[in-house]
Every structure is written in C-alpha cells, then in structure tokens.
C-alpha cells in the first residue's frame, strides 16, 4: 500500500514569514473585516509570492506533486461512482492545497480525525488510497488502517469527531508523549454544539489539538454567509481563549506554515488552536448533489482563478521547475497509483456475514452467536 509521508514539514528550516505573531508563532489575525486581505497568504493566485517562502524548491515540487495525485484521485473517484463502483462520493476539487498543506505539517505518528471530504488530507497523513477506496465501496474494512497509522476513518457525522481529537490529544498529553491530534472539519460543522464543546474542552485542558476548518463556502446548499453572523470562523477561537487564524486555503504553503506552527505550539505544550482555511468546493457536495439549485456558476469561475494547483504551477514554471513533461509524468504516475489501488480494493473478497457478526465486540456475545446460527440456517 502506498502510504505517502515524505520529508515535508519535518526538519524544515523555516523561513518564518514576516506576518507571524511573535508569541505564538501563528499568523496574526485582524479582526476588522471578512475580506481576503485579512487572510494569511504567501502565494498569490497568479503564482507570485508575497513573502519569502519557508520551503525549498524541492519541497514545493513535492507539495505540487501531492496535489496533482490528489486531484487525479478525485477525478477518478467521480468517474467510478458514475460507473456504480463506488458509493456516493464527496469530491474535494478546489481544496487540495488546504488538505495537502495541513497533512504535510504533521508528524507521522500524530492523530488525525477528519471527514468524508478529506481523502487527500487523510492520504497525505498516511491513510492508504487502497483503504480509502475500499471504504467508499461500502466496506468497513476500509476503516482498518495499518498499525502505526493513527488516523480515524473519515467521519460521516458532521461535528461529532472534533471532540475525539481532543480526547486523543488529551490521552497523549497525560501519557507524556509529544504526539498531537489534528481534526479537520467544514464550515458547516462549526454550527454543531459539538464544535463548541470540543473547542472548550481543548482550551480548558490545553490539549495538543489543532482544529483545522476548511471553510469551503457551503454546508451542502447552505452558504457560509447564512450559517453564522460572525466575522469569520477564525474569530470563534476568541470564545475559547485560543489562537485563531484565517489562512488562504488555496495556498498550500500558507496552510502548511499555519498548521505547522499550530502543531508545534501544541507539541510544545502551548495548547490548541483554530485555523480557518478559506477555500471553495468546486464540485457538488456529493455525487448525489446538484449545486445549480443553490449557487451561481459565476462563483465557481471566480474561484477557478484561485485554483490551488495552478498558482503553484505558475510559480514553479517561473522558476523553471515546471515542464509539461513533468506534469504528464505526474499525472500518469498518479493515475497508475490510483488504478492499482482501485484494483486492489476491488479484489478484496466480499465481506462475510461472519465478519459482520464478529466485529461488534472484541468477542461475539451469546446473542450474536445465536444470530450467527440463525443466519447460517438461512444462508445469509
């Protein structure tokens, strides 16, 4: 299985950009307005840079390659869903920078609790494509990550999983490790009561938790402008006395820097923080959704201009580090990787009745053994 966890985010000699807060190391936030100017960003949509980038060219290329691979996965998944090979799929097109940037900031053994839309994030953090795909065929075994990978299966409930990352981090803190937990969630999830309780617990017990919100503009059909009247999602951190920052979620380096700083703050005993990555869901909510019912196509066109891959590609090209050949190679390789993963998942034998009975408890209880008997009688 191709779990990808390369060097980025570790041992990196950070060239801290100028607009980071001196105390927390986190990007500063201005409270005044909701405009994009108030967001922390390093790479402009056109691919020019606002500041010195704290990554090497090689690292930049690796981030780009990961985003390409993720996009290939996304495109293929939609196609496979149409062919009936995958259950409903939630595309992340447009959110590649947020997801790859965040995951790249983590350490191999950190905990991750993310959502149904976070395939790229989970993959980059160590969740094999194979198992993500297996899960999407409707198979619980997709949730059985390899030993050593500390990632929970994609959360289907909205909101419930954030507090898990608080408990996970709390356990690590009590056990004296320096492992942290990152939870990724959408703008919509911030409306749930569980968001509030998770943020509060994390702050109260100063657990090493990074709250990573991908504000992609919508909770299914409900726009962020209606979900809340707060100036931003980042500002909600104030209600818990924790740092909160807004970052350009389509800027992979800005996300990487912000999450890395949040992670190192957490790792060093500085407690939790909230990062709002402002991005856009280019596709439908899921393959079952029709976005034309609730949003204008012009919106998508606007965001197309801020595409997270294109800007890095432009940047690399300007540095002579991008060629069409390389692009083709990346795409071909990614396609092969994903296709192999799909083949692997599809070759997994059908799950059995016995397995279903056996995985409720560590040991099946007498009522389950009765079921097993009865089911067998009926050839289940």
């Amino acid at each position: 299985m191709s779990s990808r966890r390369s060097g980025l985010g570790r041992g990196l000699e950070a060239l801290i950009p100028t607009n980071l807060d001196a105390t927390s190391g986190l990007p500063t936030r201005q409270n005044q307005a909701n405009g994009e100017d108030q967001m922390f960003g390093l790479i402009n949509p056109e691919g020019t840079v606002r500041d010195r980038l704290p990554v090497t060219l090689e690292e930049m290329k690796a981030l780009y390659a990961d985003m390409v691979e993720a996009r290939v996965y996304d495109t293929k998944s939609i196609a496979m869903q149409r062919q009936g090979r995958l259950a409903t799929y939630a595309p992340f097109h447009g959110q590649e920078a947020a997801q790859i940037g965040a995951a790249a900031a983590l350490r191999e053994d950190d905990w991750v609790a993310a959502t149904y839309r976070d395939a790229a994030l989970n993959w980059r953090a160590g969740y094999p494509w194979e198992l993500l795909i297996l899960g999407r065929t409707g198979d619980e075994r997709g949730g059985q990550v390899p030993e050593g990978v500390n990632i929970l299966p994609p959360s289907i409930t909205v909101g419930g999983h954030m507090i898990h990352a608080v408990g996970l981090a709390w356990a690590e803190k009590l056990s004296g490790t320096d492992r942290i937990a990152l939870t990724s969630f959408g703008d919509g999830a911030t409306s749930e009561g569980d968001f509030h309780e998770a943020m509060n617990f994390a702050a109260v017990y100063q657990t090493p938790t990074v709250f990573f919100c991908q504000n992609n503009g919508y909770a299914i059909s409900y726009p962020i402008s209606e979900q809340t009247r707060s100036e931003s999602i980042a500002i909600k951190a104030d209600a818990y006395g924790m740092p909160g920052v807004r970052v350009d979620g389509n800027d992979v380096v800005a996300v990487l820097v912000a999450v890395r700083e949040a992670a190192s703050l957490a790792r060093s005993g500085g407690g939790p923080s909230l990062i709002e990555a402002v991005t856009y869901r280019m596709g439908p909510h899921t393959t079952a959704d029709d976005p034309t019912r609730y949003r204008d196509e012009s919106e998508g066109a606007e965001w197309e201009a801020k595409d997270p891959l294109t800007r890095v590609r432009n940047l690399l090209e300007r540095q002579g580090a991008w060629t069409q050949d390389w692009q083709d190679e990346l795409e071909t390789q990614a396609s092969e990787t994903i296709e192999k993963a799909v083949e692997w998942a599809e070759a997994v034998p059908e799950p059995t009745f016995e397995e279903m009975i056996n995985r409720v408890f560590a040991e099946p209880t007498p009522p389950l053994l009765d079921h097993w008997e009865e089911g067998r009688k009926h050839g289940v």
Partner: protein, 325 residues
Amino acid sequence: MAELNLAQAVNGALGMALDNDERVVLLGEDIGRTGGVFRITDGLRDRFGENRVFDTPVAESGIVGAAFGMAVAGMRPVAEIQFLGFSYPAYDQVVNHVARIRNRTNHRFGAPMVIRIPFGGGIGAAEHHSESTEVIYAHIPGLKVVVPSTPRDARGLLLAAIEDPDPVIFLEPIRLYRAVKEDIPDIYYTVGIGPVRVERQGEDITLISWGAMMKETRAAAGVLEEDDVSVEVIDVRTLSPLDREGIVASVQKTGRAVIVHEAPLTAGFGAEIAATISEQALYSLQAPVRRVTGWDTVFPLKRSEAHYLPSVDRIVSAARATLED
C-alpha cells in the same frame, strides 16, 4: 385521484398544510433551496417564501429546540432531520423538552410540532444513513410515533400529525420514497393516528410490520398464499400510541404471528408487540411469536447490507416454522 409515490404524497401534504394553516412553518437542513436531500420539500420555498420554509445551520438540537419554542408560542412547526442517525444530537431536546412540556405545565403549554425523519436502509448509503432506531422514540411518554408505508397513509398521517396538539415523530421509509405509486385522493385528508391497518385479511397467520419492511412482508405473504396459506398482514403505522387491540384481535383469530422489522432484535419495537401478544392473546397462540429482524450488529455498509436486511426468505421460513409448530 392522482398517482403518487410516497415522496410526492408527503410533498403534497406539506404544501397543503402550509396553504391551510399559516401557523405551519418548515425548517431543516437544506430543505429550502434544494428541497432537501430527498427533495421532499421541493418547490415549497419558492411557493411559500423564505418566511415559511427555512434552511437551517447544521445543528439538530438547535432545529428541534427552536421548533419547540415556536410550537409553544403557538406555531405548528414541521422540522426535518436529514436522517434518523442524525437525530441523536437532538435526542435531549426531544425527550427532555418536546415530549414533556404538556406534563410540565399541566396543559398550559403544548408542543404541537412534527419532526419528519427519513429512516431505514437498503440503498447502500454511508454510515449512519440507514438507522431504524424507532424504539428510542416509541419508548418515550409524550411522543407519538408514526411510520407510514404507503403514499395514501403518508399523506393522511402527516396531515393528522400536523393537526395533532402533541408532538409527533414522523418516520419516512427512505427505501419506499419512490418505490411504488398509488392512486390517492389529491386533496387534504387525514388518517387517524393510532389504529393499525389490516392490509390483507387472512385466517392462518398474522404478519406484522411497519415502514420499509412492509415490502418484504407483503412479498412473503404472496409467497405463502401461493402455498394456500391464508395470511393476514398488518401495517402497524403508529408505534405510539400502540393499537394493542387491533393486533391482539388479529392474533386471536389466526393464533400465529410473525413480527418483522429492520432494527436490531434486542429491545426492538417488535419486542413490545410480541410481549403484548403473549400477555393478551396467550391462550389463542398455537405457536411461539417469532421475530424476523435485523441482527444485533451495527447497520452495515453497502457490501454487507444483504447480510443484514431481513429477507423475504427469512420471513417465509419463520412463517412456515410458525405454521408447523
């Protein structure tokens, strides 16, 4: 008359209720602009406006709690929760407040509201999208729990629920939304909350079910009739208040009963029906009351769904065993 499926019957009922009573408002996640994930509220926001049909934040406790406040203040809110598995965050509001305000205020205030919730499996959905935990509501005093299985009942029971002075949990079987069409009166009518519906009369055995499993139950009855078994089929329709009389009368006649539901066996609502029969019809019983249900497992994902869902075959076998006992 109009030929409608269950989804259309519900959509029509909601439109009529909004038309009929200005105290009626709808609220829920994505019910406005998109007409809900199952399109059950399709077109209603356009027709009745933003002040009658509200999209809400993703916050189930908030939806139910706000609807409750509206109901206490004299409105007739109809809230939608997207799936039964997402109703749990609102469980506290439902049990501790919605179900109790009449008792708590000795009738001074009531909560005339409906919570519509799609439920049940069989469509290969993601985790939490296939729950049949109706019993967690049916057990709670102060709630009525209604589960239609036909377009006709869906419309009539929903309108009755909206008229009801007390809160109603209205469970809509996802698998049946678009499964069959039925000729129903395309007008405002109600079907009384409470009485079971004897869908087919018979002498030898009573098959009892509700919701989506009515489909397999009917099919099983068909198979049995081919063998000249005379089958009575009961659609419970209302879990609470339970029409014990209707059920007991049938079993007193047939002497044999099989209960079918999709929820896990242990402490599923079938237990209540079996217990009722054995309390009130023991001396008529010629065989043990069998339950054909989901297993005591988590409702599985798509690839294992067939292992979980009670099949026509399992129902027929149970009925045959009951007939032979």
